[in-house]
């Protein structure tokens, strides 16, 4: 099982602060699954978001995620 936590704009777009997905999904597959589950608005946010897998940025979005990881979805914004 993969735990997904949504933050800021991702949380608003998903309408929830977390989701779960089966282990073995890659980030690319996860994005498709979560978009179909939560809608296109989340899909748009996911295109620009950073994904932290157990706290580390993930570069290979086609790699299968191991069981038990937490994926934090962080939309960037630069306002100051």
């Amino acid at each position: 099982m993969i735990t997904v936590r949504y933050f800021a704009g991702a949380r608003a777009a998903a309408g929830t602060d977390h989701d779960a997905a089966p282990a073995g999904f890659s980030l690319d597959q996860l994005a498709v699954e979560l978009t179909s589950r939560r809608g296109e608005r989340l899909g748009t946010v996911l295109k620009a978001a950073s994904f932290l897998v157990d706290g580390v940025a993930c570069h290979d979005r086609s790699e299968a995620l191991p069981d038990g990881v937490t994926v934090d979805v962080l939309p960037p914004f630069a306002g100051g």
Binding site: K47, S50, V56, P76, A78, G79
Partner: protein, 393 residues
């Protein structure tokens, strides 16, 4: 993880300073030693805007001995909803100067250094090297990546904060001890996908929520008290009224601070790195961009045009170009609204400043409206060139 104090203590506090800082001095963890470290500290605030306002004011009040302020902008009326270091009489004045005056009024013992200039690749390292710590309160991705890269290359810690609407994020980036900004956000977002505060808005008081976290972390780093937010990201949600702390670890593959860095000096062009508009939008805009003046001429001559405002409804409520129909960019990009565009009239798109309309233009042209154009500079240019009586925002 606690860290040793960043700054050595100053030799002494004067009697006046002891009176002024007494509420700090009687906290055992701060004490005279901590206050002397603050006195000896040199902190640079990048941007005297939303985050820079509370940050500079509290850093000054706390007794940070040297405060640098870098900002090239001037105070605009639309800043005053959140940039509380400036006031009504400062409109039109350079922000760095206006902020310096407020700092001096708050605490005359602070040595203020004004950098009334835009930070760029040629001056950033030289300016940063004069300080112990940097507070990042800039408002765009290009400057944020440059601030990060310069800080990492110089080995300086910096306190980062970012805001949008009701959301805020803050962290301490210090590559020597933890992750950097690129570890958290390896790539800038695709151009046009993330609205700025100027486009999407920001709750004014959010600046205080995040700016005060930045100052808290700055004081902790300088004096060596508590657990600094190194390796942690605080995410604030004003609507839920929650602060969540996320662990962020150093990315072994970070292009800047990772094991095999590919970025070993400042980039040539950070604007280019972050891309003002996407390549598709840039291509679509070539030979398909008109000025506000040309739009006015077209309207006056009775040319058959269909003017589309691709901004959000709230922006349309504030100010609009006469004759414009509101169709937000998202509805155009998703294809949903294409059916509303007439085939027999010239399509003219505009937004606030010309970035979003360029993105929409690419989609409209791809859908077959080959002669569609967009307005350079958007409604802001219209206000400037055609009707200055309208409110700019």
């Amino acid at each position: 993880m606690s860290l040793p104090p960043l700054v050595a203590p100053a030799a002494e506090l004067t009697v006046d300073e002891i009176r002024r800082y007494s509420r700090h001095l009687i906290i055992p963890d701060v004490g005279v030693d901590g206050q002397k470290r603050l006195k000896n500290a040199k902190v640079l605030c990048v941007g005297a805007g939303g985050l820079g306002s509370p940050a500079l004011m509290y850093l000054a009040a706390a007794g940070v001995g040297t405060l640098g302020i870098v900002d090239f902008d001037t105070v605009d009326e639309s800043n005053l909803q959140r940039q509380i270091i400036h006031g009504q009489s400062d409109i039109g004045r350079p922000k760095a100067e206006s902020a310096a005056a407020s700092v001096r009024e708050i605490n005359p013992y602070v040595n203020v250094v004004i950098h009334n200039t835009a930070l760029d690749r040629d001056n950033v390292k030289e300016i940063f090297s004069q300080y112990d710590l940097i507070v990042d309160g800039t408002d765009n991705f290009a400057t944020r990546y440059m601030v990060n890269d310069a800080a990492v290359l110089l080995g300086k810690p910096y306190v980062w904060g970012s805001i949008y609407r009701f959301d805020g994020q803050a962290s301490v980036f210090w590559a020597e001890h933890g992750p950097c900004y690129r570890c958290l956000y390896p790539e800038p977002p695709p151009p046009g996908m993330v609205p700025s505060c100027a486009e999407g808005g920001v709750l004014g008081v959010l600046c205080a929520s995040i700016g005060s976290i930045q100052v808290t972390e700055a004081i902790k780093l300088i004096t060596g008290i508590g657990e600094p937010l190194v390796g942690g990201l605080t995410v604030y949600d004003a609507l839920e009224m929650t602060y969540r702390k996320i662990k962020v670890r150093k990315d072994p593959a970070c292009a800047l601070c990772g094991e095999n860095p590919t970025v070993t000096d400042l980039l040539e062009d950070y604007e280019d790195f972050c891309g003002a508009v996407s390549p598709e939008a840039e291509e679509a805009a070539v030979d398909s961009t008109i000025t506000a003046r040309e739009l006015k001429d077209w309207q006056d001559s009775g040319k058959s045009i269909f003017l589309v405002d691709v901004r959000e409804p709230a922006e349309y409520e504030i100010v609009r170009i006469p004759g414009a129909t509101l169709i937000p960019k998202g509805d155009i990009l998703s294809g949903e609204a294409l059916a509303r565009l007439p085939q027999d009239r010239q399509i003219v798109l505009h937004c606030k400043s010309g970035v979003r309309s360029a993105e929409a233009l690419a989609a409209v042209k791809a859908a077959g409206f080959k002669d569609a154009v967009h307005v350079q500079g958007g409604v802001l240019s219209w206000i400037k060139q055609i009707d200055p009586s309208l409110p700019a925002y």
